[in-house]
């Protein structure tokens, strides 16, 4: 990830602050920054969202298309992730510079969404073995301000909440082949069941403490992160260690339990906000304002 120049004395200041449960912006170790959430930010998509956590700015658009299913899952829809790190976020990402990080994030998301216990894609099946809905999730990262995995996963969940796919009717045509007809009445659209969709909770170790939602300066002080995809019911879809450091098994146990508690609380707060944001959806002027 993009590197920020933080001097040794600044690092010491941040680490000492964390030990006293007081961070540079006045938060405690386990507090998130304010999360700004907007649904329907890109009207040309089937579902979209815009999430801003302090300086981290993520825009997600989902386009639904019809395609042949995966051979391994002929009766399920598909979901595919593409992450684009803009050169606005960091000049380093110009050209193909952001591809590696983008693929890492996309891979982690795909891993978190793979199980049907967390996102049941069987409702996206149109004709078994022949046609299913494919959700192309395009994630655009406009600005980096730390805690990228968390922000991206929140934005993706919000965009899935916003997703509306037209209802299809399948009838058997004269030649015995199924024919698909798209309803033009928007009120027949069905939302996707997202009650169990997980979000990433990243805990970074600074000094001897675990800290949630790190800013970029704080990220420079930590060497090891635990990145856990936590579902609203507290179950974990995927867990990975990122960063260049190592961990003692005891602190790993501590991190996993913290992540579960935080994840469950985060989902509760998010669901409330989704409902509110839905009412305001499409009324704002522009997503950069």
């Amino acid at each position: 990830m993009a590197n920020l120049a933080v001097s040794d004395s600044e690092k010491t200041f941040i680490i000492h602050g964390v030990e006293d449960n007081l961070r540079c912006d006045g938060r405690g170790c386990l507090d998130y920054r304010h999360i700004e959430l907007e649904l329907g930010a890109a009207p040309n998509c089937s579902g979209s969202s815009h999430v801003r956590i302090a300086n981290t700015d993520v825009l997600v658009g989902i386009k639904a298309e019809i395609a042949a299913p995966d051979h391994a899952a002929p009766d399920r829809g598909r979901i595919e992730f593409f992450v684009d790190l803009t050169a606005n976020a960091d000049p380093e990402f110009e050209g193909t510079g952001g591809d590696e990080l983008g693929q890492q994030i996309a891979g982690a998301l795909a891993e978190a969404y793979v199980s049907k216990r967390f996102l049941d894609l069987s409702s996206l099946c149109i004709v078994k073995n022949q046609q299913v809905w494919v959700l192309f999730v395009d994630i655009l990262i406009l600005e980096l301000g730390g805690s990228l995995y968390d922000a991206v996963s929140i934005a993706v969940k919000a965009a899935l909440y916003d997703l509306r796919i037209p209802k299809l009717t399948v009838s058997i045509g004269e030649d015995g082949k199924p024919e698909i007809e798209v309803s033009d009445d928007p009120h027949t659209q069905e939302p996707l069941a997202i009650a169990n969709v997980p979000c990433f909770v990243t805990l970074s170790k600074i000094g001897s403490q675990f800290v949630v939602d790190v800013s970029q300066e704080e990220a420079e002080c930590s060497t090891v992160n635990m990145c856990c995809a936590i579902a609203p019911n507290g179950r974990m879809a995927t867990t990975m260690k990122t960063g260049v450091g190592s961990l003692h098994p005891d602190s790993l146990i501590e991190a996993l339990q913290l992540a579960q508690e935080i994840g469950v609380a985060l989902h509760k707060a998010l669901h409330k906000q989704f409902v509110k944001a839905q009412e305001l959806s499409g009324r704002t002027n522009g997503f950069l304002l």
Partner: protein
């Protein structure tokens, strides 16, 4: 059936014949018994070798059942481009599957998996190497999977551990990769490829857990869990993986001692 087509070449893409095979609906009846007759906690026989790649500074070969992985360490080499100078050594890891490594047809999206494995290995090896001892240097690790029969990531990490130990690069400790498959209440150590890819259990936890562990310092260098789990269950699984890693350690040490003896003999002959 839509067979799809390759956009670049405009030629209809081929399809592995395995797709048309009729598969049993309930795979292996939730594995009442493991196919190779092992107990749940039993590991497959494994072979550790070192010094296979003569051009490399150090190399390791791991065979775990029929999973075969080679790792080779190149460097430390001087970084020539001024832009890349840093006070710590740069460690790069590239993992590749040979086309004949995986069962079934040629996989289309294998390169994504390779990239994911490469970055996981890189992050699991960085805590092991004393990067500060090699300023302005780069260390390259190449890992090749010759055959995939489950636990490739764990085997790759162990192979890297042997390669680093024999390369003379200063490390903090050995590193060992271990993995398991959770399936409901059962925990299958060192699963085969079929077990790793099996359908999820109807309820309870399921999934794969891979752990990178430094046995002497008792530090976790890498963790990857997938599937559906809970913190308490995962913690239990990690502690049993750690026990397994301690069990594997003597074998790894034996392999390193063997190489040391061989080198000693060689130098005697040269004298």
């Amino acid at each position: 059936m839509n067979l799809g087509s390759d956009r670049k070449t405009r030629v209809a893409a081929s399809v592995p014949y395995q797709r048309f095979m009729v598969r049993p609906r309930e795979p292996e009846k939730e594995f009442c018994k493991r196919k190779d007759g092992r107990r749940d906690e039993e590991l497959r026989p494994r072979i550790f070798e070192s010094g296979l790649v003569s051009d490399a500074s150090g190399s390791g070969y791991v065979e775990q059942g029929s999973t075969k992985v080679v790792a080779a360490v190149f460097g430390p080499r001087e970084v020539t481009r001024r832009k890349e100078f840093s006070l710590k050594a740069q460690l790069r890891c590239v993992f590749t599957f040979e086309p004949f490594a995986t069962p079934g047809g040629r996989q289309e999206n294998i390169s994504l998996l390779e990239q994911r494995y490469s970055s996981w290995l890189e992050e699991s090896l960085k805590p092991v190497v004393q990067l500060r001892r090699y300023p302005k240097a780069s260390i390259d690790i190449r890992v090749t999977c010759l055959e995939n029969d489950g636990g490739v990531l764990a085997a790759a990490l162990t192979a890297c551990g042997i390669a680093l130990a024999t390369s003379g690069i200063e490390t903090f400790d050995l590193v060992i990769g271990v993995n398991l498959r959770a399936h409901g209440d059962r925990v299958l150590m060192d699963p085969s490829h079929a077990e790793e890819d099996a359908a999820p259990s109807r309820e309870g936890t399921y999934g794969n857990v891979t752990l990178g562990f430094m046995p002497v310092l008792c530090q976790i260098t890498g963790l990857l869990q997938t599937g559906d789990s809970e913190p308490a269950t995962l913690c239990q699984q990690i502690s049993s993986l750690i026990k397994i890693a301690h069990g594997v350690k003597p074998l790894m040490e034996e392999c390193l001692i063997d190489l040391g003896k061989l080198q000693e003999k060689l130098s005697e002959v040269q004298m």
